[in-house]
């Protein structure tokens, strides 16, 4: 059982009148440190250690996600090609909206500023730029797939420098 905000306030009131500056409480399923911060007031740092009591699987529910995503050939890029990674982790989308045409297809020419997709992180959308001039060689992350910052979204065959 965690302490409610009312409980913590009661602790603070008791400490306030006691002249003590700090209380550290360590229980089997909870730690709490209440500290006087000079004249500014009091703070509490609480950690609930109790493990969640998870029910057995519900019939008909979706399968649990595999603990480890299948290893993708992240590093083995064809010679001379460049991987495009997401700027931050999130869900990768190849098109600006469901049903809309993709930003780019294999074979399309891109430059540094070309938007090749978007990642959705915490309900916010961030454009992904190719970051390199060349031709889209292949996609390595599908539409709607989750990608961390190491993930290869697509592979670009760079244009010959001239």
């Amino acid at each position: 059982m965690d302490l409610t905000p009312d409980d913590v306030r009661d602790v603070v009131r008791a400490l306030d009148s006691s002249g003590l500056d700090e209380l550290h409480l360590e229980l089997s399923d909870l730690t709490l440190t209440v500290r006087r911060e000079g004249a500014a007031g009091w703070t509490a740092e609480q950690r609930v250690l109790r493990d969640p009591r998870i029910e057995p699987e519900v019939e008909g529910g979706a399968e649990p996600a595999a603990a480890d995503a299948p290893d993708r050939p992240r590093a083995d890029l064809p010679d001379g090609t460049v991987a495009v990674h997401p700027p931050l982790l999130g869900t990768f989308y190849r098109a600006p909206a469901p049903g809309a045409p993709p930003f780019v297809e294999v074979g399309d020419a891109v430059d540094e500023e070309t938007v090749i997709g978007i990642v959705e992180t915490m309900k916010m959308m961030t454009s992904v730029h190719a970051g390199v001039r060349g031709t889209v060689a292949e996609f390595r992350t599908g539409n709607g797939e989750f990608a961390d910052t190491d993930a290869v979204l697509l592979v670009v065959e760079p244009a010959a420098t001239s």
């Binding site: 059982m1 965690d2 409610t4 905000p5 913590v8 306030r9 603070v12 209440v34 911060e37 500014a40 007031g41 009091w42 703070t43 509490a44 740092e45 609480q46 950690r47 609930v48 250690l49 109790r50 493990d51 969640p52 009591r53 998870i54 029910e55 699987e57 519900v58 019939e59 008909g60 529910g61 979706a62 649990p64 996600a65 931050l88 982790l89 999130g90 869900t91 909206a97 469901p98 049903g99 809309a100 992180t121 915490m122 309900k123 916010m124 961030t126 989750f146």
Partner: protein
């Protein structure tokens, strides 16, 4: 029917918030959690946890069948939907009813009545509320006819939208065809409903809302809130009561909200959103939200009520436990939403692992949060980490106490918007009270101008 076991079909701080009231009321709480949330703070605080589905919300928190399956599996006699996700989704309310489970929210009829923004507008008109000039835009010709009456600039709004989603600004007649076409296709994709309508754009408007609670027969108004500090229609800071509004307008807004609640025979918690015109000191109906709101704690601070407890009571079929005369507002309350975002980098989202959480405590202080040291903030959901809620004797006192509390609050491990709130509380225009919804973008622009200093 007495609720004894409640399925909390949500996550984050609101899940922790509902679980806390359950514990106080002696109601057993069962958290329905996605795979990303099985080890969260709400999961540790709930009496039990049931797995809802994979991390993506579409396969867990947004799947009515998964929620009802979980509720049946654990023998819950009620489902609390929180806010967002399925909270205003008639499909969940209907499925709960069919399974003999209480949906802690309004009737299916009310959800339909206010979920469709055009229907909500017509109900508001029928209840005698002023609405912003506008109308449905079934095609370009209809839109041009409405626009001719409304004038420019105007907003194109998705009928299925709400909460700031699905709105587009049209500055002139030349922009209308292109923006209308884009709004229609985006509305179809985002809400599964291509219908849009037009509304006059009020340049200096404030977002003011009235909290109502009904039992299906009668309703009470629990004061108003101001949520005008927004970025891209996302609220950042809220307060109760709304500042710098004449007393008679507060009373008129409450009466209007009650008229709508009465017209709908409303049961549950609801929020009547109003657009307050600063220049004219008048208000118009915008939409009604049929759920508990993120910013409900400021109302709880000034009324002394536990809105989740009241929500559960009316869901049980009990009559209201308070009359309008019992509602007394004391002092002023403010709420800072602390998000995992870097405001210095265009509010870039910052999921990750939390190292430490140190919170201010004391009288008139409350922090609703779902994180503690060791928590992981997943990238799949919104960025709200904590709400710092402060109650003062008046607005100046509440703001001063909020400044002090912010100095003591520490959330280490991810970037948060706490520094933004410090800057906001130090802003003179904001401190004066009654800013409009355009204020925050001006505030940001002013701070960007002298480059190099953060």
């Amino acid at each position: 029917m007495r609720i004894r076991r409640l399925l909390v079909a949500n996550r984050g701080e609101i899940a922790a918030r509902v679980i806390r009231t359950c514990a106080r009321l002696g109601v057993e709480s069962v958290l329905a959690a996605s795979d990303a949330d099985l080890d969260s703070l709400p999961a540790r605080c709930a009496d039990r946890v049931v797995r809802l589905g994979p991390a993506p919300a579409a396969q867990s928190y947004l799947d009515p069948a998964a929620v009802v399956r979980a509720a049946v599996a654990v023998g819950a006699d009620a489902v609390h939907p929180g806010y967002g996700f399925l909270s205003e989704n008639p499909a969940l309310a209907t499925a709960c009813t069919e399974a003999g489970i209480v949906f802690v929210g309004p009737s299916v009829a009310s959800l339909h009545a206010v979920g469709d923004k055009l229907t909500a507008r017509s109900h508001a008109v029928a209840a005698g509320l002023p609405v912003v000039p506008g109308g449905e835009a079934a095609d370009l010709a209809a839109a041009q006819a409405v626009a001719a009456e409304v004038g420019y600039p105007l907003l194109v709004k998705a009928v299925g939208g709400g909460g700031g989603r699905g709105m587009k600004l049209v500055r002139s007649a030349g922009e209308l065809p292109g923006t209308l076409a884009m709004a229609v296709s985006e509305a179809a994709a985002a809400f599964g409903d291509a219908r849009v309508y037009l509304e006059r754009y009020v340049a200096s408007g404030r977002h003011v809302e009235v909290q109502v609670l009904g039992d299906g027969v009668s309703a009470v108004a629990l004061g108003d809130r101001d949520c005008s500090v927004q970025r891209r229609y996302q609220k950042l800071f809220e307060e109760a009561p709304a500042p710098a509004i004449p007393a008679h307008v507060h009373a008129e807004m409450a009466a209007a909200a009650l008229a709508l609640a009465a017209h709908l025979g409303y049961r549950g918690l609801g929020t009547v959103e109003l657009l307050y015109d600063r220049d004219r000191q008048t208000f118009s109906f915008l939409e009604m939200n049929a759920r508990i709101q993120v910013e409900h704690p400021v109302t709880e601070m000034v009324t002394g009520l536990d809105l989740v407890a009241e929500q559960i009571a009316v869901a049980e079929g009990l009559p209201l436990r308070l009359r309008q005369d019992d509602v007394a507002l004391t002092g002023h309350a403010v709420e800072c939403r602390i998000n995992a975002e870097d405001w210095a980098d265009d509010f870039r989202p910052a999921p990750g692992r939390i190292d430490r959480v140190v919170l201010p405590v004391g009288d008139g202080l409350r922090v609703d949060t779902h994180v503690q040291g060791g928590s992981v903030v997943p990238p799949h959901y919104d960025s709200l980490l904590a709400k710092l809620v402060v109650h003062g004797t008046d607005r100046a006192d509440a703001l001063a106490r909020a400044r002090a509390a912010l100095e003591l609050l520490r959330i280490d491990g991810v970037v948060t918007t706490a520094p933004m709130h410090r800057a906001l509380l130090d802003d003179d225009e904001f401190a004066a009270g009654g800013v409009d919804t355009a204020f925050f973008e001006r505030f940001l622009a002013d701070r960007r101008a002298p480059a190099g200093v953060s």
